[in-house]
Amino acid sequence: MSPTAGSTGGANATKPKLAIFGAASCGGCDVAIVNIHEHIVDVANAFEIVLWPTVMDGKYSDIETMADGEITITLVSGSMRTDETVHLSKLLRRKSKFMVAFGSCASEGCIPGLANLSSRKQIIDTAFSTTSTDNPDGIRPIWECEVPEGILHLPEFEPVLRTLDQVVEVDYTIPGCPPESNQIWAALEAVVKALNGTGPLPPKGSVLGAGDSTVCDECARKRDVKKINRFVRIQQVAGFDPEICLLEQGLPCNGPATRNGCGALCPAVSAPCIGCYGAAEGVIDYGARLMSAYASVVEATTPEEIDKVLDGIPDPVGQFYRFSLANSLLRSGRSAWQNDGE
């Protein structure tokens, strides 16, 4: 989408507003956006970027003073780990027409979601008292403390990490950790066309920048019927056949359950898919689908034989919920909510 004539410089006031916000994020999604290379110019021409903390300075008051719905589209990456991110998401929601859960953290919790296996205290204790932390006085964060300038509020750590759509209503989701840059551009381009009236507005709730099927659809490996008699870890086997399905070779590849759109980059280099593009269309618990699929094709009939094969996956939560724990049906481990405060 190339800029129309007469849209240079001072036409900012009539361009739709774009906000890009990283909540509890690693920054990788921002890098992925920038990785659309020259298309970033198209984006800058098409939108007025009103918030992008990674790239430019801005203040919360800039947002607070906007009218409701003034921002056309907000891309939120990162998860809702602190009360600040929750607050800002709600604020941005109010000020935005379209809210997009951008990337795996926002849409399903991603790796930080695995922190839901521990209670807040466990997390903070681990962060503040491991051997790599120099903390001889055993200091722990205090959410509110009095300092000469007044009361200092630290963003409080939420007991349970949440996804964006567990906090606000979300219009669209762009999955991936990070979303592939070509997919980011495709999604942005579609949005621009919709705003232009030259393309359809995707139905609310759609997943953009990804396919309707799973990674196997894009994977070039040859697939046969599945009869698994062992699961191995990638470091256990010397070489994998580059042409045959990884799952058939015993590598627990999450490709069959993971939405396509990434181009099956990992299986192409014999790395099993770990599921960063999230669940397939209509699936409400990603891990359940994987567990069902894997267990169904194990070639064993007695409990002992079955256990032997399943022992090849020593960390089931890591295997099945690596990215998606926070928006699975259970959302967390028990201690996150039961032992909060202990």
């Binding site: 232009n196 359940a288 069902s292 194990v298 409990p303 079955i306």
Partner: protein, 195 residues
Amino acid sequence: MSTQAPVAPAPAEGTAPATTFEPVIIGFTCNWCSYRAADLAGTARTKYPPNVRLIRLMCSGRLDPTFVLKAFSEGADAVMVSGCHPGECHYIEQNYKALRRFQLLRRTIESLGIEPQRLQLVWASAAEGVRLAGEIARVTEEVRALGPLGWPVGNLVDIDDVDLDAAWQATGGDAGGPPPAPGGVNPDHAAETAQ
């Protein structure tokens, strides 16, 4: 293998103390064996505790781990899966798939902090009504001893089909006017609004 299992005595009417924890347990049964066994227990008026609520599936092979996790996330204290004995599945061999899914599911829920005894597997043929009743009684007592699970209410995934257009309109639609187009020209968005 005993075909007569002791059935826990049902609490006498009106004397159950208010403080006794009554677990709520979801049981999945298969149409041909375990559901018929439950029916048989009923016809024989075999008594067992009222804590298990049964769902009929055509086959234990239909058991999707999603169902089990859904039950826990909706507040069940335990889940019982039952089907035909291995080798006797009405659909030949589907209960083996159920067995494998059960074993994998059990490991995973244990890693999530749910005691593995909250997920139980019971095989029962259509003739084993009394035995199934005994197993239900046993599972109930085991779960009672574990105490409530009480998983909190999560973000309920609404599985009603949402009329997306209507939802869009209900939230105000384009009440704020069409957004300005990129590049400065403000086109008419008649295509996507009801105006």
